[in-house]
Each structure stands twice: as C-alpha cells, then as structure tokens.
C-alpha cells in the first residue's frame, strides 16, 4: 500500500478537520466582521463616548500575536475563575482579535467619507443605525474589499494556531495522521492544499464584490 493509499483510507479524518476549520473560520469571520462594524458604528457622531477605550482596544490587539490572546483566554483566564473549552476560547479569541483588525480597516475608510452623504441621510429622516447599515457600511465594504479579503485570509491562517491549544482542526488532523502512520509529507501536502483552496475561494469572492463595486464606480482601494 502506498502512502497515498494510507491517506485515502483515513479521508474522514481530513474531512472532519476540514469541516472544523471551515466552521471555525466561517463563524468567527462573520462574528468578527459584525464586531468590527459595531465598533465603527459606536465611533459615529461628533463626540463618540467610547472613542478612547475603543482606540486602546484596537491598537492593543494590533500589537499582540494572536496566539498570546488564545493563551490568555484558554490558559490564563481559568486562574481568574473563567473556564471554557478550547473550541470556545478559540472562537472568542478569533472574534476579538480579528474584530479589532476589521474595525481598524473600516474606521480608516470611514474617516475619508465626505460628510455630505451622511447629512443627506439625516436630512431624510434616517436614524443613526439605519443610516449606518444602509448608507455607510455598504460603501465601506465596497471600498475596503481588498483589505477585508487579506484580513479574511489572515483569519483563516490564524485558525491553525488553535492546534496549539488542542482544537481539533485541519492542521491537527495532518499532525495526528502523520504521527500515526509516519507519512508527514503526504498528510501536510493535502492539508496545505486545502488551505490554498479556501484562500483561492476567498480571493474569487473578493473579485466578485469587486465587479459589484466597479459597476458603481468604486475603484479598488
């Protein structure tokens, strides 16, 4: 039996790792994006109350490695009496960490907006949340799609760190297969192929948004 046959016989291990990674990625990408958008919404208005704390939070996250945050949640917090599973800690870490990065990307773009569009919406009777959701956020997404796409790929890659805090994701699958059968080369080639595929899928998705934007005169940011 060749090494590849051995791998094929345990394709279910890959599939479940792949599925877990996709689940980690999808769930935390959505939540992190919502969190980033919510932070930018809280920064709306002329004198946002939360400006200073949000600034500190965002800059703080951008100066930390992702893994140290995961460590903090998974190994550190139990000594403060807060205990959670590796999976939960992993998702929370991904969401908090990348939420801050998404917020920074969107905030940077928001700062370049002309005030007029917002006034036009206020003059028409939009509430703050409506205006943010319907006028500002769609444009932020169209304008920052390149940066958002990069961030999504970084998020995908950061899911692999969670193997270190014992989450059973894709890299964990390769690692366990290679130590069971001593075929690291093949196992990792398959796994890297998976990551590559998801990245290419993400890039296509961003290109799609790009076409949507080009139709509206939004050049790539």
């Amino acid at each position: 039996m060749s090494n590849w046959d051995i791998l094929w016989s345990s394709y279910d291990v890959f599939l479940s790792g792949f599925y877990n990674t996709l689940k980690l990625f999808g769930l935390s990408a959505v939540l992190a994006f919502l969190m980033g958008s919510a932070m930018v919404f809280l920064l709306e208005g002329s004198r946002p109350r939360l400006k200073v704390p949000l600034r500190i939070f965002i800059d703080g996250m951008r100066m930390l490695p992702f893994l140290i945050l995961a460590y903090l949640l998974y190994y550190g917090l139990p000594s403060a009496g807060i205990r959670m599973s590796a999976w939960t800690a992993g998702i929370i870490a991904l969401v908090i960490y990348h939420g801050a990065y998404f917020a920074e990307i969107l905030r940077g773009c928001r700062a370049t907006f002309a005030q007029g569009q917002v006034e036009a919406a206020i003059a028409q009777g939009f509430s703050q949340p409506q205006m943010f959701m319907r006028i500002i956020l769609p444009q932020l997404i169209l304008k920052t799609r390149g940066l958002l796409g990069n961030q999504l790929i970084i998020l995908l890659k950061d899911t692999a760190f969670l193997v270190i805090i014992t989450v059973r994701e894709l890299t964990a699958a390769a690692s366990s297969l290679s130590s069971t059968y001593f075929i690291p080369m093949e196992a990792f080639i398959v796994v890297i192929g998976f990551y590559w595929l998801i990245s290419i899928g993400l890039e296509l998705f961003i290109k799609m948004i790009g076409r949507f934007g080009a139709k509206r005169g939004f050049e790539n940011a």
Partner: protein, 213 residues
Amino acid sequence: MDSSAWGLLIQGAWTTLWISGISIAIGVVMGLLIALLRVAKIPVLHQLLGVYISLARATPLVTLVLFIFLTAPTMGINLNRNVAGIIALTLNTTAFNAEIWRSAFNNFSKEQREAALAIGMTPWVYFRRIMLPQITITSLPGLVNEMSFLIKGSPAIAVIGVVDLTRVTNRISAVTYDPLPPILAAAVLYMLIISLLVWLQRLAERKASRLAV
C-alpha cells in the same frame, strides 16, 4: 512572578527575537532576489515562483513549521528545532517581501534608466547606485510592516517545542501554577517589540514620502 520567572521570560523573548531576526534578514534579501527574478519574467521560473508565493501566503505558519519539522527526517535530514523554525518563518516572510519589492520595481520610473545609461553608467552600476537605493526607501515601510507580522506569527514555532516568548509562559506556570501573570507579562513584552517596529515604520514612511516628492 519572581526573578527567575522574569529571567525565563527574557530568555523566551530573546529566542523570539533572534529566530525572527535571522528569518527577517534572510527573508528581506531573498525577497529581493525573487522579486528580481520575477521582474525578469524568465519563462517557467516566473510561474514557479508565482506558485511558491501564492502557496506560501496561503499556508498558516503553524502548518508550515510542522510540515518542515516532521518531513525533514523522512528525507534523511536531521533538523534542529530552531533551524526548522527559522526555515519556516523565512519561507513565509520571503513570499510577502518578494511582493513588496516587486511592486516597488513595477512602480519605478523608466526615465531614470535612460538618463543613467546616457551618461555612460553600466546597467549594473545603474542598478546598484540609482535604482536599488530608491527602491529600498520606497519598500521600507512595507518591509517593516511585514516584520511586525512575522513577529506576531512567530509563536507558531512553539508548536515544535521551541521555547519562545509564548511557550515560555507554559514553563513558568508549570512551576508557579498560575499562568495568568506570565501570559500578561509576555503580552506586554510583545507590545513593546511591536510598538518599536510601528515606530520604525512611521520613520520609514516619512522618509519614503519625502522621496516621492
């Protein structure tokens, strides 16, 4: 945390710094070489390098570190953990740096070349004395930014047992039974390192924008 814990922590920080430092140094130079090869558009090689860059950018560092560390022995190579870590970090950062260098090359004005050749410079002298210095300045902010990313990715080497600034917190808490303080202390040290790089990046940006005028 007592002084021996702080001592361990500083050792971990030092490990992170020297391993990342070596990878950054090699990665910046290799990135330049790859960018040059890609700019030359040599058939086949161009495509191969393109695939390398695309793959390296899509592969998580943890996965790459494991791949290299576990695969080398099966090919009869005995890799020490630190070396495996350096190779992985280098392969990763080189790909990003190559793209930074390449975009600087692509944006470089062609007229300067004609001016230089017209006054009798050889292409090599032109490259070394005129082109490279300017391209280095325009690439520097991007390169420094990538250094921050590499430092933030460097805890990946913990997965093969290198005791870096992240993993050392496990060591310390194995003795003290209280992981929170060492993790927080490590976080502060990372912040110091990254903020230093952010500061350097600002300097580099100021320099680059002066060149742009």
